[in-house]
């Protein structure tokens, strides 16, 4: 996590705690007030005992989440003290009702906090404590039989409450784990797709080079058969060039083998496409229901195979986005050039929009998606650029590529 992330997390915790803390504080005071006053008024506990013991009882419930063992200890000690110090006993309960309720609350809070062992321990030890009260009372006098049945009922209720709380807590934990796993998986999936797209681009570019190299090889190795009267030295030189070209191609094949993982079958039986194949793309788009207007100025001398391939792929990607998102649209393709730059502009509009209407997101390509990323990568790889955005009531993709000033006519 970045530095700013850590600071903001700390702030969040403090802020949360401040709010939650005040809520807790109020609740704690309320519970403490109830326990103290009830112990003093109803149970006949001396006030100097009721105050600390009642407060401790209440506090233990609020401590339970953070420090379960301490909470249990504090609670049980307080409960024991209250039991010992209480003079008025009731027929039904071994200790006062409020104490039984607080014990149940403790077990439930521990369950809700996910501390299942502590919850079970609190329940068991609490029950034993209450049975202990019954036992000690029996030694000194008669312990009403209803006390034991009350303990059983109370024990059952608090076990149920604690159990439910624990289950709900577990459910919540599992759900957040699943969420985390899901977002992790989505993140790595998008990374993988990006990598695959880059590999595909690299493969196509290497392919163009390999193709040129095999032509170099053929020219060099066939020269002596096409041109008469070449001396021995020249022939040797040409053979050397051919040998060099073969080495380069061998190395190229190694690179391409690595990148070839997910090659689509028809990509390798058709030659790499260029500007001459654009009309066929446009025809496909028209068949898919898009009205296509094209203004493709001839570029002479023809740009390099790399540039042509990049422009073709940008057109292909843009048109398939239009087909995918807004079936009835109009697309306008314009290819133009000046001395230094070739510009390809693909503009799309949905049919019901006039030029004054705002862009509909339906005709824009997935901006964060691999489509746009791939297009940008391809154009920058040939020394050009790609711009995209809402424009004149629709969406425009503008690709530029530099003209090769050193290209032969």
């Amino acid at each position: 996590m970045s530095g700013t992330g850590a600071t903001s997390l700390a702030h969040t915790v403090l802020a949360m705690n401040r709010r939650t803390r005040s809520v807790f504080g109020v609740a704690l005071l309320a519970l403490a007030a109830s326990t103290v006053s009830l112990h003093a008024a109803v149970d006949g506990l001396a006030i100097w005992l009721a105050l600390p013991l009642g407060a401790a009882q209440a506090a233990s419930v609020f401590l339970a989440g953070a420090r379960p063992r301490t909470a249990i200890a504090v609670h049980h000690l307080a409960l024991a003290g209250i039991a010992l110090g209480t003079t008025a006993t009731t027929y039904l309960w071994p200790v006062s009702v409020v104490s039984m309720i607080v014990l149940a609350a403790l077990v439930t809070v521990l369950g809700a906090a996910g501390r299942t062992t502590a919850a079970a321990a609190a329940w068991a030890s609490g029950t034993i404590l209450l049975l202990g009260v019954v036992a000690t009372t029996s030694l000194t006098g008669e312990a009403p039989p209803s006390w034991v049945s009350s303990i059983v009922v109370a024990g059952a209720v608090s076990a149920a409450a604690g159990g439910c709380a624990a289950v709900l807590r577990r459910l919540r934990d599992v759900r957040s784990e699943v969420e985390a796993a899901r977002s992790d998986s989505a993140a790595s999936r998008s990374e993988l797709t990006g990598a695959q797209e880059r590999a595909r681009i690299a493969r196509e570019m290497h392919d163009v080079v390999a193709h040129s190299m095999s032509l170099v090889h053929m020219r060099a190795s066939s020269a002596q058969y096409r041109i008469d009267g070449l001396g021995d030295e020249v022939r040797a030189e040409l053979d050397g060039i051919a040998e060099q070209a073969r080495t380069a191609l061998r190395e190229m094949r190694t690179v391409l083998a690595v990148l070839h993982e997910d090659a689509d079958a028809d990509a390798v039986t058709a030659p790499q496409p260029g500007l001459a194949e654009l009309p066929r793309l446009l025809a496909d788009a028209r068949r898919a229901g898009i009205a296509v207007e094209a203004d493709l100025a001839p570029v002479s001398p023809a740009p390099s195979a790399m540039v042509q391939l990049a422009l073709y792929r940008v057109t292909q990607e843009s048109l398939s986005n239009v087909v995918r998102h807004a079936g009835d649209s109009t697309a306008t393709i314009r290819l133009s050039c000046d001395d230094t730059t070739i510009v390809l502009r693909i503009h799309s509009t949905a049919p019901d929009e006039g030029s004054t209407a705002p862009t509909t997101s339906s005709s824009a390509p997935d901006v964060g998606g691999r489509g746009i990323r791939g297009m940008i990568d391809r154009m920058t790889a040939v020394g050009g650029s790609l711009d995209h955005g809402p424009d004149a009531g629709g969406y425009a993709v503008v690709a530029t590529a530099p003209r090769d000033r050193t290209a032969p006519p």
């Binding site: 392919d207 390999a210 193709h211 190299m213 095999s214 032509l215 090889h217 053929m218 020219r219 190795s221 066939s222 058969y225 096409r226 051919a242 070209a245 073969r246 191609l249 094949r253 391409l256 083998a257 070839h260 079958a265 390798v268 039986t269 058709a270 030659p271």
Partner: protein, 226 residues
């Protein structure tokens, strides 16, 4: 005896180079050229070449589709041997070329001597072109073995000697190597081989290898004869 060759490639310069190299060889005569698969079909019909050297990647009709069409076309009676030119040497589309009926493949950057030798080898039919590579390709891409009724009958119809020869052909051995292995004369081997190919209903050694793996006669990894 000269071998009549048809050269097919979409790049004019590449084609011109091939024509120049092969045309200069004493055993080879250039029957014609074509710039894509469709034109190649036409030329094959009219010129009746012995061997066609054809690029895989072409517009209109690519090399694999053209191979299939050439061998399926009933009007082409003089069945040519096809050598596919490819950029990669191990790939499922190279196997597709073999499956479609090509007798072998060559890398586009093969040296002139390799080109010439390949055409001679294919024409003579005594051995596989690049046996180790071809076998590796077939092992990797051949369909999972399942023996059809037709295959079983055909294989069962081979005599013991013919079956021995079949296994060795499928292992990629040349006729002379088979002869040495089985202690028989090369001419005898040649006769056995043609009978085996005829009985199995396959047109050449490559198809015999494919059949051997796809019918389970040979199992990948078991064979260490090469």
């Amino acid at each position: 005896m000269t071998i009549r060759v048809l050269v097919v490639d979409d790049q004019a310069m590449f084609r011109a180079g091939l024509v120049a190299i092969l045309g200069a060889q004493p055993a080879i005569v250039i029957a014609g050229e074509a710039e894509n698969g469709r034109v190649a079909l036409d030329r094959a019909r009219s010129l009746r070449p012995d061997v066609i050297v054809m690029d895989v990647r072409m517009p209109e009709l690519d090399g694999i589709a053209a191979t299939q069409a050439l061998l399926d076309d009933p009007s082409i009676t003089h069945r040519p041997q096809i050598i596919m030119l490819t950029t990669f040497d191990i790939d499922d589309y190279v196997f597709a070329a073999l499956r479609a009926g090509a007798s072998g493949f060559l890398l586009k950057d093969a040296a002139p001597t390799e080109l010439t030798a390949a055409i001679r080898t294919i024409h003579e039919g005594d051995s596989l072109l690049s046996p180790r590579l071809t076998r590796r390709l077939i092992v990797e891409f051949a369909a999972a073995p399942r023996r059809t009724m037709a295959d079983s009958t055909a294989i069962a119809s081979l005599t013991d000697r013919e079956r021995d020869v079949f296994v060795l052909v499928a292992a990629g051995l040349s006729n002379s190597e088979i002869g040495r292995r089985l202690f028989i004369a090369e001419q005898t081997t040649k006769t056995h081989v043609s009978r085996v190919l005829a009985k199995l209903g396959v047109r050449d050694r490559v198809q015999a290898v494919i059949l051997a793996y796809e019918s389970g006669v040979l199992v990948p990894g078991e064979n260490a004869t090469t």
